[in-house]
């Protein structure tokens, strides 16, 4: 574990140096991530402008969901999303062998290969926005619920990570379908919508969005004391199960990797 943390610290330091070297790219990245955050709030504002409450949720609840989305998904974008996005090119050019030979878990290393410091600003900004929303709209929050939110954000992060891992494993067979990652990205984008949608809509359609919606909804419910323990337990089990499945699927996929010269 110590070795693992040392490598992550080293990677973070290296990519921070890269970000500060290519400063314009770094500032553009901050600008872009702030824009998407602002878009989340704008969407929440626009959709709540047409109806007094959405599935029993007020505008304040929607804004809280949007800001916690920024924390959880923003953290994944900070550490892993860019690394996953470059994966198809590695497969396509047959460069995976180089990574397989390194004395470190391949998928972890690949996912951390391009840490995006621009999104650190987004995640930090979302923390501040969440505090503001809680104070402005007088949400009932305790230190215990904040701790629970933090703890449940770990399986939420793992769920996103597992979905990306499953997707990049498919790229071993179909490297040209690199836009499949955009599909996962769009799916994760639906996490900012209230999970109660699934109760009022056809199950055959809404069930596809459920794995994405739990990512943000469950930790947010914990934050405002609306989560029961059984749902929390199911969420942790689901996340752990998905993570184990994604690891096994990745190892299975590796057996089918042929390299560029085969």
């Amino acid at each position: 574990m110590k070795h693992f943390l040392q490598i992550i610290r080293q990677l973070m330091a290296s990519y921070l140096e890269v970000a500060l070297t290519y400063r314009l790219d770094f500032f553009q990245s901050i600008f872009a991530s702030c824009l998407w955050s602002a878009f989340g709030f704008l969407s929440a504002y626009l959709v709540t402008s047409q109806t007094p409450s959405v599935l029993g949720l007020s505008r304040a609840d929607m804004l809280l969901l949007t800001s916690t989305y920024g924390i959880i998904v923003g953290t994944h974008h900070w550490f892993c999303t860019r690394g996953f996005q470059g994966f198809w090119e590695i497969i396509h050019k047959g460069e995976l062998e180089g990574f397989l030979l390194k004395p470190f878990d391949t998928i972890t290393f690949l996912s951390l290969r391009n840490i995006n410091w621009g999104n650190a600003v987004r995640a930090a900004g979302s923390v501040l926005t969440t505090i503001w929303v809680i104070q402005y709209y007088h949400f009932s929050v305790s230190w215990g619920s904040v701790l629970l939110f933090g703890l449940l954000s770990v399986p939420a992060f793992l769920t996103i990570y597992s979905l990306y891992t499953i997707c990049v494993t498919f790229l071993i067979w179909y490297p040209y379908l690199s836009n499949a990652l955009e599909l996962v990205n769009s799916g994760v984008g639906t996490a900012r919508y209230p999970i109660d949608i699934t109760r009022y809509t056809p199950r055959f359609l809404s069930m596809w969005f459920l794995p994405f919606m739990v990512i943000v909804n469950i930790p947010t419910q914990a934050l405002v004391h609306q989560l029961d323990w059984s749902t929390a337990a199911y969420f942790v089990l689901f996340s752990g199960g998905l993570w184990i499945f994604s690891r096994r699927f990745w190892l299975y996929g590796l057996r089918h990797y042929t390299g560029a010269s085969s």
């Binding site: 790219d25 824009l35 959709v47 047409q50 836009n179």
Partner: protein, 269 residues
């Protein structure tokens, strides 16, 4: 058939062969766009089933028709040439190949994009037909004239989108990294094309502004002509706006391309 026309058709045929190698990739792009629409559709279904909207125009059949048509038309009329021009041609320096060929660069890009649009439109129509087979009735106009006007509007909208995205991509000659600007454009596109909520439901000053932006031209205008009982004067206003944007952006795209060629230094210099 004249030699010139035959040359264009041959190039178009080559584009068809190139693009048809990526059939599944185009289907994937349709799903990417579809996810955002389906979640909004589910959101409105749930909201309208569970509560009272402040706007009486918001009904389940109306909003479903709106989002289904928006998705179908968006895949057919909204071009995505900007990343191709910015990253593949300019950033990686592959623009030399097309420039050395005796064929206009932007026209070649347009042909390539048209094939992508036709392919994605084909997938979208298949999915729409499947939805209609389940028994859902779209709220569409029954006037044949409106259908013809919708098709013309969609064609003009495609040109608006192509010129706008070409200019955006060509900016990479000066700016190299366009990520921030592309994200900004994407957000404007989602809001001002009417993907979050229909433009007529936006707050008052934004409603008028959004309807005259180039983002509304490729999708929102054709959908309005096909679904809403708008007056003939409004339809002519939409056509006027589309022609204005085609002329303005078309000239701007040519100017940007010519100036850009002089400023372009390539990756190795």
């Amino acid at each position: 058939m004249t030699l010139g026309l035959r040359r264009h058709l041959r190039v178009f045929q080559i584009r068809l062969i190139e693009v048809f190698q990526f059939r599944l990739r185009s289907l994937m792009w349709l799903f990417v766009g579809g996810i955002n629409t389906v979640i909004l559709l589910l959101f409105w279904w749930a909201t309208l089933s569970a509560g009272q909207p402040t706007n009486p125009a918001l009904t389940i059949p109306a909003i479903t028709t709106y989002y289904l048509l928006m998705t179908t038309l968006a895949t057919t009329t909204i071009c995505h040439i900007e990343e191709d021009i910015a990253y593949r041609d300019i950033y990686k320096g592959l623009i030399y190949g097309p420039l050395l060929r005796p064929y206009p660069y932007l026209l070649g890009k347009f042909q390539e994009e048209i094939v992508w649009r036709l392919l994605e439109g084909f997938w979208a129509i298949i999915i729409l037909a499947f939805i209609l087979l389940t028994g859902f009735q779209l709220q569409l106009t029954d006037s044949p004239t409106r259908w013809v006007l919708t098709i013309i509007s969609a064609l003009l909208g495609t040109l608006v989108s192509f010129f706008m995205k070409s200019i955006l991509g060509l900016l990479a000659i000066w700016l190299t990294n366009l990520r921030g600007i592309m994200d900004l454009e994407e957000i404007f596109h989602i809001v001002f094309a009417g993907f979050v909520i229909p433009l007529q439901l936006l707050p008052a000053p934004w409603q008028t502004l959004a309807q005259f932006t180039p983002w509304a031209a490729p999708v929102y205008y054709p959908v309005m002509i096909l679904t809403e009982p708008i007056s003939t004067a409004t339809i002519w206003l939409y056509f006027g706006c589309q022609l204005f944007w085609i002329l303005t952006l078309g000239v701007l795209a040519q100017v940007t391309f010519r100036r850009g060629l002089r400023a372009y230094t390539g990756v190795s210099q």
